[in-house]
């Protein structure tokens, strides 16, 4: 059956696509009536707390839990050795990241502890407080081992090897050499070089990680309530490591209190909780307290990059090379691995520009620090900041305005499809359109003039630009090709009930971004009903189609397209039934505002509730050869490109107090091209939140470890996060280059803000400091570092 509608699917009457509709399902969150996992109480639910290693590296000699076992209310104490009988260990490698290696990791350490905070024993008790009482009384004897805490020396001959069976501390290395970089530098008028450092930081979701595992032995069923972004992935892994049938495992994600990539990984303590539930045959709950979060939630970044760039006097960039070193944890995180961020740096750096000579190397080493893995914008902030930083250096070296250097080197808007140095194809980007729009929006020339005037008065303001590309809508090439059961496709099932109400169940998940809202908007538009008539179900592996979830800026681009396809087909099915009822050709009908109408005149013919009444209660009145189907499932996976690239540009305006080193963020501007925008207010919310998260890493956030692998600031008073008073207003504009790989044309928008902000902030600070011959290159840019750059401390 074909749809002869002459209207574009995105432009139908009463379409919600492109409208800032308030999210339909969040009034309950505003009234404190959400259901976060910590709000769930199950019968016989026990609580686990973990005794965690105080050492970064040690052998476990003995564990004495006698005193702990005597605490009234303690149910069971379990060590790693016992738990290993229930749960198999895992290895965080992907086969398409060639040469990657990592050691098997257990849910609870068996012999060797490899980072401060690794669980050594579990205490299960009637409530959390009693479990913690038990934890206090556990005595563990350790033989301390040398701590590998410095990535610069992790591969040195004399450095202790954390896992001797692996031979060395190298986890992954990636190199890329395109064109002739040596010739490019020889032909350049200036070759600039710099070393950039990016501190370790972490996600600090407002809701800490939480899991309730409910193993039911009679039927061998496992239900897991989890604050997560990828329920189907976790369902597979629980079954795999508990040796269960996957069909017996159900993962339910209720309201999730922020994720940002923190809640898309396989955490040892969560795996232990699931195993404990199976062992004890009752529900077990684990909630990371904030101190545990800091030493166990994945960390990110921690890169040192030496970069060089060649440029001609006319502003043409001739080539770039860099060497990136990053120290991750003692294990590569499972199953997405700790190699993706470095790989992204190799793939993405300099991606907005036309130069063809590119040499990149990234080395990932193991350290006795907490594990690192994918966190919002994975690799992008590094790739963007090093390229944008060195481009500004080059601009200064040849005396050209940084906006002009970008204009000279950004890929022309008519050059697409364009094959990047990485070998990946950019389908359609809009760098120049975005640059022009940004400069106009911020009044770039006016700000430059103001800057010059204020410098005369000893006020140091700076303007920083950062052009960027972002990887979104990943295909199976991201993880599936590496052997991980992480789905790149998503599905949506739509169902019309007798009253004309529509339920859409989707495999993408909601963590606050608005995945449920855009699903409702797309389904309402494509079926032809008011958004109030659409209910969205997500986050439950038992009742939604199989799919990836929400991460890597994929939910709208992939899950949204599945919703569009499902809604369209449901509309078609409705038209066929209505056609039979009205004795009209289906193609002369449409569904608009919950009513079947004549497509040409818009004349109302039949309410959907009447179609539903007949289908569900008076099917006898329909033709015998018509079996009405008011449930439709559709799926979508990106096929044309391994990734759908987006682009954008950011600018920061800052003022540096050269006496105190404090940087005031005055304003931020963003122009973003994420293709078709479903809900502008939600996209802007993603960008603003992302920018501030990027600012956090650039200015404030730092997991500070000492030489012994001890985290020095593992609490929210000592680890600084962005608070309202320090953050600027952010003005946003859009360009739109929809992807043709889908009818919806949507690209991802979840990470662009975080990608560009650190580079833009850094460039703004260095622009402010440039008359003083000072420069910062080591994030986060604390007042102390600014004063050091100024030679004042």
């Amino acid at each position: 059956m074909s749809d002869n509608s002459t209207l574009s699917e995105l432009d139908r009457p009463n379409s919600y696509i492109g409208r800032s509709v308030p999210r339909p399902n969040i009034r309950r969150l505003l009234e404190g009536r959400g259901t976060y996992t910590d709000d769930i109480v199950l019968p016989r639910m026990a609580h686990v707390a973990f005794h965690r290693s105080p050492h970064a590296h040690a052998m476990i000699k003995s564990i004495n839990s006698e005193a702990a076992a005597q605490v009234p209310g303690v149910i069971r104490i379990v060590t790693g050795r016992e738990l290993a009988e229930v749960m198999t260990p895992w290895v965080g490698v992907l086969s398409h990241l060639a040469g990657m290696k990592s050691a098997p990791q257990h849910a609870i350490a068996v012999n060797q502890v490899c980072w401060q905070g690794e669980a050594v024993a579990a205490v299960v008790a009637e409530n959390r407080a009693v479990a913690e009482d038990g934890v206090e009384l556990i005595e563990v004897e350790y033989d301390e081992l040398p701590v590998v805490a410095d990535m610069e020396t992790a591969l040195d001959e004399g450095t202790h090897v954390i896992h001797p069976e692996l031979g060395d501390n190298l986890i992954f290395q990636r190199e890329l050499d395109v064109g002739d970089v040596d010739a490019a530098f020889a032909e350049a008028d200036e070759v600039v070089e710099e070393t950039y450092r990016f501190g370790r930081h972490t996600g600090v979701t407002t809701e800490p990680r939480i899991i309730i595992a409910d193993y039911e032995p009679a039927e061998d069923n496992l239900t897991v309530y989890l604050s997560s972004q990828a329920p189907h992935m976790m369902k597979n892994l629980y079954a795999k490591h508990l040796d269960m049938e996957e069909d017996k495992v159900r993962v339910i994600c209720k309201d999730v209190g922020g994720s940002f990539g923190i809640k898309v990984h396989t955490y040892a303590d969560e795996m232990a909780t699931v195993a404990l539930s199976k062992l004890l045959k009752r529900p077990v709950k684990f909630l990371a307290d904030r101190l545990e979060s800091f030493v166990t939630d994945i960390h990110a970044r921690d890169h040192r990059v030496k970069i060089r760039l060649g440029i001609k006097k006319d502003g043409t960039i001739t080539g770039m090379e860099f060497d990136d070193l990053t120290g991750v944890g003692p294990y590569s995180m499972y199953p997405r691995t700790s190699g993706i961020e470095a790989n992204q740096v190799v793939v993405l750096t300099g991606g907005p520009y036309t130069f063809k000579n590119y040499r990149a190397k990234a080395t990932v080493v193991a350290l006795n620090l907490n594990l690192m893995c994918q966190y919002r914008a994975v690799g992008h902030p590094i790739a963007c900041a090093i390229a944008e930083g060195i481009v500004d250096d080059a601009a200064r070296a040849i005396g050209m305005d940084p906006a002009e250097v970008r204009r000279k080197n950004l890929i022309p808007d008519d050059a697409y499809p364009y094959i990047a140095n990485s070998g990946l194809t950019y389908e359609k980007l809009s760098h120049h359109q975005c640059l022009d729009k940004l400069l106009e929006m911020m009044d770039y020339d006016g700000l430059r003039q103001e800057q010059a005037e204020l410098r005369e008065k000893g006020v140091y303001r700076g303007i920083g630009l950062a052009s960027m590309i972002e990887v979104t809508n990943p295909s199976p090439m991201f993880y599936g090709a590496g052997g991980a059961f992480i789905s790149a496709q998503d599905g949506v099932t739509v169902r019309m009930d007798h009253n004309g109400g529509v339920t859409a169940s989707t495999s993408i998940t909601e963590q606050g971004q608005g995945a449920d809202a855009i699903t409702a908007q797309i389904v309402a538009s494509s079926v032809g009903v008011d958004i109030e008539k659409v209910r969205v179900v997500s986050g439950d592996t038992e009742v939604t189609p199989y799919g990836g979830g929400t991460w890597a800026s994929r939910a709208t681009g992939i899950g949204g397209e599945a919703a569009l396809r499902a809604g369209k087909q449901l509309r078609q099915n409705i038209k066929v039934i209505a056609g039979a009822m009205l004795q009209a050709e289906p193609d002369t009908l449409d569904v608009q505002g919950g009513t079947v109408v004549d497509i040409d005149t818009g004349k109302e013919r039949l309410a959907l509730s009447e179609v539903g009444r007949v289908v569900y209660f008076r099917g006898d009145t329909l033709p015998k050869d018509l079996q009405p189907e008011l449930v439709v499932s559709r799926h979508y996976v990106p096929k044309e490109f391994p990734f759908t690239f987006t682009n954008g540009i950011q600018a920061f305006h800052v003022e540096v107090d050269t006496d105190t080193g404090f940087v005031k963020l005055l304003k931020c501007w963003v122009v973003e091209d994420c293709g078709t925008v479903i809900n502008p207010q939600l996209v802007d919310g993603q960008i603003r939140g992302g920018v501030i998260q990027g600012v956090g890493g650039a200015m404030l956030e730092h997991c500070i470890y000492d030489d012994n692998g001890q985290l020095q600031n593992a609490n929210m008073a000592d680890y600084m996060v962005p608070m309202a008073v320090e953050m600027p207003d952010i003005e946003i504009a859009h360009c739109s280059s929809p992807t043709k790989d889908s009818e919806l044309g949507a690209k991802g928008a979840g990470e662009a803000g975080t990608c560009g902000a650190p580079g833009a902030v850094m460039n703004a600070i260095n622009d402010a400091l440039s008359p003083l011959s000072a420069k910062v290159n080591n994030m986060p840019f604390t007042p102390e570092k600014v004063l050091k750059a100024l030679g004042k401390v």
């Binding site: 404190g32 979701t205 407002t206 939140g689």
Partner: protein, 161 residues
């Protein structure tokens, strides 16, 4: 540890009595004893503001108060302030402006913002940012929250609901 102490408080207008351990925080008391799960716990050290409630008319970090300390007190939580309509305009503005994403910080944010607007409905954006700086939000970047609070303040000043 097992000694229990009686605590009698008025919560959202209703008197309740429970016998609790001395170490039980007010936030855990509200969540676990009274099942008022709108009060969220984020850091348990008074930094993040997710657990903000009103105790005897003043906004308070309920994770930093023991339940036994609140004995005899009057507590208002997001559930009560929703039921009595006191923050309805703020909630509507937050909804329309999408000033919440995951919603975990939202109850505390609303209670703090309401306190600010009661004192100073004409607060500037800078003043709003200053006042909300004890409430951590990871999702929004704060801009939309400041917008929503500013809009509500203007409405309250104009007498509009």
């Amino acid at each position: 540890m097992s000694t229990l102490y009686p605590v009698t408080v008025t919560v959202n207008g209703s008197p309740v009595t429970r016998h609790v351990e001395a170490r039980l925080s007010l936030s855990d008391f509200l969540r676990q004893e009274l099942e008022l799960t709108g009060t969220h716990v984020g850091c348990e050290q008074g930094v993040c503001g997710a657990c903000t409630v009103r105790l005897d008319g003043r906004i308070t970090r309920s994770c930093l108060v023991f339940a036994v300390q609140a004995d005899g007190g009057e507590i208002e939580t997001v559930e009560g302030l929703s039921d009595n309509g006191e923050i309805d305009d703020l909630q509507t503005a937050f909804h329309e402006r999408n000033a919440l994403q995951c919603g975990y910080c939202t109850p505390g944010m609303l209670i703090t913002a309401n306190e600010l607007l009661k004192k100073n409905p004409s607060a500037s954006r800078a003043e709003i940012r200053e006042e909300l700086s004890g409430n951590y939000c990871r999702c929004t970047g704060y801009h939309a929250i400041v917008d929503a609070v500013e809009t509500t303040g203007r409405q309250r000043q104009g007498g509009a609901k």
